[in-house]
Symmetry: C4
Subunit: 216 residues, 4 copies
C-alpha cells in the first residue's frame, strides 16, 4: 500500500495527463500562425501591392497553415476518443502518449519547411512523414490498450471492431507515407493528397456518425 | 452500445473541448504582445527619444493590440455563453467550434498587418473580415443548436428570443464587414469603427444585464 | 428563467474564467524567456568568451526576467486569493478581470524595454507603471466585491479587515509608482526597488502566515 | 475563521496550482520547437541540399530538442508524483513550486545555447546545471513535505522509503552536475551523458513498476 502511494509508477491522474496534452495541442495549433509573416511592401499604403504580396508570398503558407491546423484537430479528436476508452494511465501509456505529443510538437517545423520550400520534394515529404509518425504513436497506444484490457473501461467491446479499427487507424499513416513518397514525383501531388486526407478524415467522422444514429 | 463507446462520433467530453478552446483563446490573446517590438534608439539612455519612439512607432501597434485583446475576450464571452447552453457536443458542433478557433487563431496576422500598415485599406479591411468570419462561425454553432434541440439544455427556451438573438449575433459580422468596407474610403474610419464596435459590445453586455436584474 | 439561461450576462462559469486566466498567466510567465537571446560569439568554442557575453549581455536581461517571473507569480497569488473569496463572477467582474489580464499580458514589453535599455529612465519607469496598473485592476475587483457582497462567499468577513486589506493592496501600486518615479533620479535605484518589492511580497505572505498559525 | 478566509496564506487550491504548473510545463515543452529554424537553401527546390542542411545545421538542434522535450516530461512525472502525495499546498510549498517552474521555464535558453554552440564546454555545462537546479527544487519540495507531514496524504508512508527516495532524487542533480563538469573534458561526453540520463530515467520508471506489480 505504501509502495502504491510512494512509487506511483502504475497510475497517473488521467485529468492531469489530459490537461498537459490539451495544453500542448492548443499551443502547437496556435504557434503555427507565427510562421505567417507580414510581407514587406514598397508602397506601404498600396492595397494592390499588398493583395499581390498576400497572393504570392502568404497564400502557400496560409494553405499549409490551414491544413496543419485541421490535421492537429483531427489528431486531437483521435487522442480524445482513445482516452475516453481508457480507465487509467500507467507509465507505459504515459510514455507512448509523450511520443504522440513529441511528434505533434514537431509539426511546426515541417509546416515551416513546406511553407518556405513548397517545390522541394524532401520538404513536402517530411510533412507527411511526421504526420505518419504521430499516427503510428496513436496506434501504439491503441495496441497497448488492446493487450492490457484492465486499462480499458468495461463498456469497451472489441470483438469484431478490433480489426476494423486497427485497419482504419493504420490507414492514416499508410496514406501519409504514400503522399510523402509521391512528393518525389511532384511536390504538388502530395500537397494535394495532404489536403484530401484532411478533408477525408474530417468528413469520415461525420459520415460514420450517420451510420451509428444512436450516437447522436 | 459497444458502437457508442468504440465509435464516439456523437459525444465529446465538453470539459476537454472547453479546455482545448480556452487554451487556444488564452494563447492567442497573449501571443499578440510578441508583435510589440522594442524600438531601436540612437541614444539608449535618452528618455525623450524613447518617448518619441513609443509615440510614433509603438502607439499604433499598441492600440491595435488593445482592440484585438478586448475583441478576443468578447468572442470568448460569446463562446462561453453558447457552450453554457449546450448539453453535449457532437462531431458537427466540434468542427464548427474548430472553425471559430481557426479564425480566432488567425487574428494575430491581420493585427500585425494593421500594426505595420495602418494606412493600407486592404490591411485594415482584412482585420474586419477575419472578425466577421469568427462571428459567422459562432452564428453557425448557434443555428445548428437551434435545429438540434436535443443538444441544448432543457432550461434553454427560444420562443421569442430566437429571432432577437440571431439578429444580435448577425449584427456583429455585418458591423465588421461594413467597417471593413469603409477602409477603402479611409482606413482611419474603419479603425475607429473597430474600436467603437469593441466598446459597444463590452458595454452592451453590462447594459443588457441591467435589463435582466434577476441575473445579478 | 429563460432569460436567465439565454442571456447569461450575470453569471459566468468560475471554472472557465479561472482556466482562461491561469492559461494567460502561465503563457506570459513563460513567454518572457523568449527575450533571452543566445549571444553571438566570435569563437563559438570559447567558454571564456561565452562567460563574458553571458555576464555583460545576458545578465541584466536575466535579472529582469527573474523579477518579472516572480512578480507575475505574486500577482497570480493575489488573483487566486481574490477568486477564492468570490462565489460567482458577473459581467462587471469579468471585465475587471480582463483589465488585470490585459496589464499582465503587457508585462513582456516593459520587461524587454528594461532588458534592452537598463539605463533609460523611461524604460525603467514604464516597468513600474505597468505593475502599478495591474495592481490597481486587482484593487478594483476587490472594491467591487466589497460593494456587492452577494458575490462573496458567506464565510468572508470584512469588519476590521476591510481597511487593512485595502491599505495592503493599495500599498503595491503606490510602491511601484514611487519606484518608477525614482528612475528619473537614477534607473538603478528603481531597479533595486523593483527587486526589493518582489522579495518583500514573497516574504510578506510567509510572515503573515506565521501570525495566523491556524491557517497552516 | 474570517482570518482563514481573508488571509488564505495557508491553503491554496491544489487544482489551480496544478493547472498553472501544467500550463507552464506544456508551454515550455512546445516553445522549444521555435528554436528549430528552417535552413537557408541556395537552390530552394533541391532535396539533396535540404538533406545536407538538415544533417549539418538542424540535426544537433533536433537532438537537443528531443532530449529537452523528454527531460521536461520526466520532470513533469516527478512533479505529478510529488503532488499526488500532497493533501494541500501552503505558501511555502507554493514558492518552492515556483522555483521548480522558474528553472523549467529557463530550459529553452541553455537548450538554445547547446544547439548553437554544441562544442562550447560552458554552453554544454549550463544545460546540466539548470537541470540539476530544477531537480534540487523538486528535492526541496519533497524534504519540506517530509518535515510537515500534515501536508501529506494519510496513505503516504515513509518509514524505510524516506532514505531511498531522497537518494534516488538526489541522484538526478548529482548525475547532471557530473555530466556538466565533464563538458570541460569534452563537450560530447556530457552531451552523451545527458542523453543517457534521460533514457535511464524513462526506463527506471518502467523497471521500478515491474518490481511493484500491484501498481499495474
Amino acid at each position: 500500500m505504501s509502495e502504491n502511494v510512494l512509487f506511483k509508477y502504475g497510475v497517473f491522474s488521467k485529468t492531469r495527463v489530459e490537461a498537459f496534452s490539451d495544453g500542448i495541442f492548443a499551443i502547437i495549433v496556435t504557434l503555427l500562425i507565427l510562421e505567417l509573416k507580414v510581407p514587406h511592401l514598397e508602397h506601404p499604403g498600396s492595397a494592390q501591392e499588398l493583395l499581390r504580396a498576400l497572393g504570392t508570398l502568404v497564400l502557400p503558407k496560409m494553405l499549409s497553415w490551414v491544413i496543419s491546423f485541421l490535421t492537429i484537430c483531427i489528431i486531437w479528436v483521435n487522442h480524445h476518443r482513445l482516452f475516453e476508452m481508457l480507465k487509467g494511465i500507467n507509465i507505459v501509456l504515459f510514455w507512448l502518449n509523450v511520443m504522440v505529443l513529441l511528434f505533434v510538437s514537431f509539426i511546426p517545423f515541417p509546416t515551416a519547411l513546406v511553407g518556405d520550400y513548397p517545390r522541394n520534394p524532401l520538404a513536402v515529404a517530411s510533412y507527411g512523414i511526421v504526420m505518419a509518425c504521430a499516427g503510428a504513436a496513436l496506434i501504439a497506444i491503441r495496441l497497448y490498450g488492446f493487450r492490457h484490457r484492465e486499462l480499458l473501461k468495461e463498456t469497451v467491446q472489441f470483438v469484431g471492431y478490433q480489426k476494423e479499427m486497427v485497419l482504419a487507424f493504420v490507414f492514416g499513416p499508410v496514406l501519409y507515407l504514400s503522399a510523402a513518397g509521391l512528393a518525389f514525383a511532384h511536390p504538388y501531388i502530395s500537397f494535394t493528397m495532404y489536403a484530401l486526407i484532411t478533408v477525408y478524415f474530417m468528413f469520415s467522422f461525420v459520415i460514420q456518425k450517420a451510420h451509428h444514429p444512436s450516437n447522436g
